[in-house]
Every structure is written in C-alpha cells, then in structure tokens.
Symmetry: C2
Subunit: 349 residues, 2 copies
C-alpha cells in the first residue's frame, strides 16, 4: 500500500510509493559531466572570469593569477545584479521590481578533476568557511534579505561547468521555500515552545530508522517525508538558527560529515548528479528562537512530471528507512579506491 | 537588468533573466520519444492493461477489445490505490496515512502515432468530456478531496509511454499547489470582492502583451510571472470555479483552443516535451466565489537546479511578452505540414 507522509515543517505531503518498483540499487546514475575544452575555473584561466571577490592564496601570489586554493568570483551571467535600486512597482494587479542582489561562484578547488569527496578535510572546511565569509560581507547590504548557498553537481542537476563549484544568490526577498519553513517552525514553536528541528533531531536519534550518521555536532538523516529518493538532510544537533552561529571548530566537523555523506551517496548511487542547498535564517533575527539551519542534499534520480508540478505532492519510489539502511552499509573510506580508475567526461587535467 | 516578478495568485517571485542569453529560437527541443516494441495502449493490447473503467466505442464492440476511440483504465502502477481506509496516524511528531485515492490513465486515441494536434476537434473534445465524466464519478467517493488531471508528453517531461495519454490522480488531501492558489485567490477576494482570475483575464485582454489567442470563451496567455519559458495558461473568460461548470458546447471550443496552442508550441519549439495540468476547485464548494479553473501548460526546456529547489524562486530566461509575440506569429494550421514527414522514435504503426 502506498503511504502518504507529511513533512512536519512545511506541511508538504509526499507519496511513498515503493510498489512502483524502484529499489535503491536500480538507480544507475553516473553524473554526466559537462565536457569543456577550456575550463574558465582552472588556474591560468583567471582572466576568463570576472575579477575575484576573495581567494585563499599561497603567500606572495597576486589576485586573479594562479596560486589560489579556493576562489570566489561574481557569476558572469548573474541571475541578480549588485547595481541599481529595487524600484518596486505595480503594473495593474501585478508587482515587479528590479533584479537587484548578488550572484557569486565559489570555485572549490584548483584541481579540475577533484570533488569534495576527494579533497582534504581542511580544504572542504575552507569551502564552508567561505560561505560564512561571503554571508558576513553581503548581509551589510541593506537591500539584501536572504543569501542562498547551493551547489549543482552533474549536468542533470543543472551544472553547466564540471569544475567543482558552489554558488550563492543574495535576494531582496525572503525565498518562498524558506518562508514556508519559517512559518511552519513558528507555528510549532507557538504551540510547543520548542524548536521543531531540535525535536526532529531528538526523534531521529532515538528512533534510529532514518539516521545515516551521527557525527559529533551533526546528524545526517533521510527525512521522514522526502520528496526525492535518497534526499538527505544534515542538521546541527544544538539549536542554531543561523549558519553563522556555528562554532569555528564545527566547520571542520561539518566538512568531515559532508565528505562522509557525499561518499556514501557516490558509492550507493554510482556518482549521482545532485544539488545541495543551505537553509539558514534570513538576515533579520526575528526567527532566531524557532528556525534551525540545515543542509538539504537532493540526488537527481527521478523526473518531476505533471502531477508534481500541478499538485506540489511528490511521488517518491524509495522509503527513507530503506535508503537510510542502504547508505549505512556503505564504507565511505572506499570511495577513492572505487572511483579511482573511473574518471568520466572531459577532464582537462 | 533582470526583473523580479510576483505571481499575483500564489505570491511566488520569479526572476526574468533575459540577459542569460536564451532566445525563443534557441530552445531546440524535439520530444525524445520513448520507444516501445509492444505498446500496451494500442488496440489489440487491451489485455495488457487493467480492465477499462470506461471507453468510447463503436456500437457492438466489446469492453477490453478493440473498437474504441478513447479508453480509460486504472494505472497499472498506481501512485494511490482505491482500496483501504485512510488510517491517519501520528508517529512521534510526524503524520502519515494510507495512500488511498485513484490513479487512472486516459488513452486519448487508438492511433499510436497521433497527438492532440493531429486529432479531429471532436476527438479532442471527447478527451475533455472524459475528464468531466471521471470527475463526476470519482467525487462520489467521500475519501476523495481533489482530482488532479495532467498530461506528460515526451520522456523529459516524465512520459514513460509515448502513446498519447493523460492521467488523473484523485487524492485524499487538497494538494499544496492548489491550496496556495485558493488562499491567494481568497485573500484577493476578501480585499476586492472580485475573482483574481477574472481580473487577470480583463487585464491581459486590455494590455494584449502576453495574450496569445482570444478564443471565444477562453484566452491563452503567457502569465506575468512564469516559472518556465513558454509557460502557458488557458483560462475561461467567464467566472467558473470548477471545470464541471463549463458548458457542454464549450468543451468543443476548449478542444479547438488547445489544438491551437499546442500547435503553436510544437511549431515554435520543435515538438517540445511538456506537461499540462488542470487546476479546478476542490470537490467541496467553499471556494466557489473566488477560485477559477484553468489549465497550465509547461514546456520542459530548462533544468530545475539547486537554487530553484532551495528557494522556490524560478529563474526564467524568456520574458512572457517575448514568448507571446513569438507564439502569435506561428500559423497553427501549418503544424501537420511541417511535422508530416518527421516522425521520430519507435512508432508501432
């Protein structure tokens, strides 16, 4: 019998329909890489990108020259732009405003053939530290209400370049998906006087049915009502509304937790295309008591079709208890060995 | 400068980002067809499907035998099932219930190589009439709160069989997307004492910037804040909250309007994969004054990536004014001529 499950935060129902026949091992994915003859993110191509916003560099190296280990640049084709005023205006019954904001690219490594799972813990920590640095800088702009950090890995997940990178878009509005989480969390807080995410952490640890790893300050779970097979959330165990409340030391723990989970997903699903998204509270502090930051990782294994677009109800062929059990069995330390001789696509190195 | 636009009904912001470089003619799509050696939807294969729920048949032909022009069957792999009780239950802070509902397939034509644009007006009318018939039947089930009709055309849009068909899923909950439209429309009605969709129809006709066709009882528009390039809405001009309030005669007009629009999209985008969705009011009559049924047609031309999943904000590279102008120039009567000698994929006829 299919099962309807409700996400406790946003109230979104999903259909867990395991009878439709997809077992974890039946998703043979392999990220189709996007071949590029000239990669603008590789060292030596710095002049092909807009001038860098920040970089981690070896001492003595010059900006916009090789010598960096991580580099942040404005997106060459920004969805939103830094220049201009909002000029909110009606048009009959419609509303519009100028696309003011920011759109930056975090080039995670100089090594074209490298992904987060291949990098040192410290290099991955630098990525997470960079998100914090950029947020601290951008939130001083009074036009900005929210900063969304995300990553597209693999062509099917929307990556147009294969060189490992994440992005951030700073928006002059609070995104709908975040607003929905805030409303749901607020409603719960008013009723229970507790953070709903803290309660989720407690229940997931004690039930231990959807928990993939309990990683010191973080847990990684398959959520109770996942939209997609192998959807994974990483949540800090203590109450922190904003990503910027994370302790300095925990950036390294988070890096280790991410490497662990991405290695498990890569092994379980054969290098799937995926997106990850950081949900943190808006710059305004209003939701401090009831919001709780977390990452959502979404492997791209199924197609979103008419029913999902029209209803907002997702049909998921894999129960989260099943995907959690499958991921637990993976041995993350084996990822380099398994994928070593198996590079695909147009690597330029 | 990119532009932020807000959907007046659900309050969803989209980014119209035409600078990202996609012009209408740059979407070279062609629906990848899903080849099938044996098509279970073709005449003669009736025994490969569950027994039919209804069919239009030539006099004297037997159920589940050839002789039909349109056939409705339960989905062989249903997302929701007719049997059982809801058994709504908590699990700690979570909620679930049994996946009770219905999932049916409307096989639109016996001709494997035929799409809506190729069919006679009367055959297409039969499809729209069938939606009504099935809704009337299913809404007698007290467990059902909503009936969502949709179509997936082409593999990228989620079609697993290429033989022309639409589907319906009857759900024991009101889908989130519909609930959001109802809330938005209700808020507007409380403020203005007018239906927001009626106001949209008025403004679109008078502005004539996003109107593609004004078709007797219906208009087809590119909405002001479309999530996707060439997203198209078909809206009845007079206030009707439910699809079942449409007059008998208007079923034929709707068929002609649909053929017109789907022909324009096929010509403009070279047979794109697409979804369409019918949004009608829930079975309960509460939203009768402020809700207004309509179809949404979504060509599948872009990828949904991390930013969209994480924010609910869609980045659309094509302004609706631009796609409307492009679609207006198309000559729908030319579709048969242009695509006649150009059948792709595993047609079995």
């Amino acid at each position: 019998m299919p099962e309807l499950r409700k996400d406790p935060v946003v109230g979104r129902w999903v259909i867990i329909s395991t009878e439709r026949g997809k077992r974890p091992s039946s998703f043979a994915s392999v990220s189709k890489r996007v071949a590029a003859k000239m990669c603008p993110f590789c060292p030596g191509s710095e002049h092909h990108t807009p001038p860098e916003v920040m970089a981690y560099r070896t001492p003595g190296s010059e900006p916009n020259q090789p010598g960096w280990t991580l580099r942040v640049i404005p997106n060459k084709y920004p969805a939103l732009r830094v220049e201009g005023d909002l000029e909110r205006a009606p048009k009959g019954l419609y509303d519009k405003m100028n696309g003011v904001g920011a759109h930056e690219v975090i080039i995670e490594t100089p090594d074209h053939a490298c992904d987060i799972v291949d990098m040192s813990d410290e290099s991955v920590r630098d990525i997470f530290w960079t998100y914090r640095e950029r947020m601290l800088d951008l939130e001083r702009d009074v036009r900005i209400k929210y900063i969304l950090v995300f990553k597209n890995h693999g062509e099917a997940a929307g990556a147009s370049l294969e060189h490992a990178h994440s992005q951030l878009i700073a928006t002059p509005i609070i995104p709908k998906r975040v607003a929905e989480e805030m409303e749901g969390a607020k409603r719960y807080f008013e009723f229970k006087e507790r953070c709903i995410f803290c309660d989720i952490v407690r229940q997931e640890i004690s039930e231990n049915e959807r928990l993939v790893t309990d990683f010191d300050s973080f847990i990684a779970i398959q959520p109770f009502a996942p939209r997609f097979p192998f959807e994974t959330w990483i949540i800090p165990k203590t109450h922190q509304s904003s990503y910027m409340e994370m302790s300095d030391a925990d950036h390294l723990t988070l890096a280790r937790c991410f490497k662990d989970i991405l290695s498990r997903l890569k092994l379980a699903l054969n290098d799937p295309p995926f997106n990850f998204i950081l949900h943190t509270r808006p710059i305004s502090k209003e939701s401090r008591e009831y919001y709780h930051w977390h990452f959502e990782i979404i492997p791209k294994l199924t197609k979103v079709a008419g029913f999902e677009w029209g209803s907002g109800i997702y049909i998921n062929p894999t129960a989260p208890e099943e995907s959690a059990a499958f991921l637990k069995e993976m041995k993350p330390e084996r990822v380099k060995e398994v994928f070593r001789a198996d590079k695909t696509g147009g690597d330029s190195v």
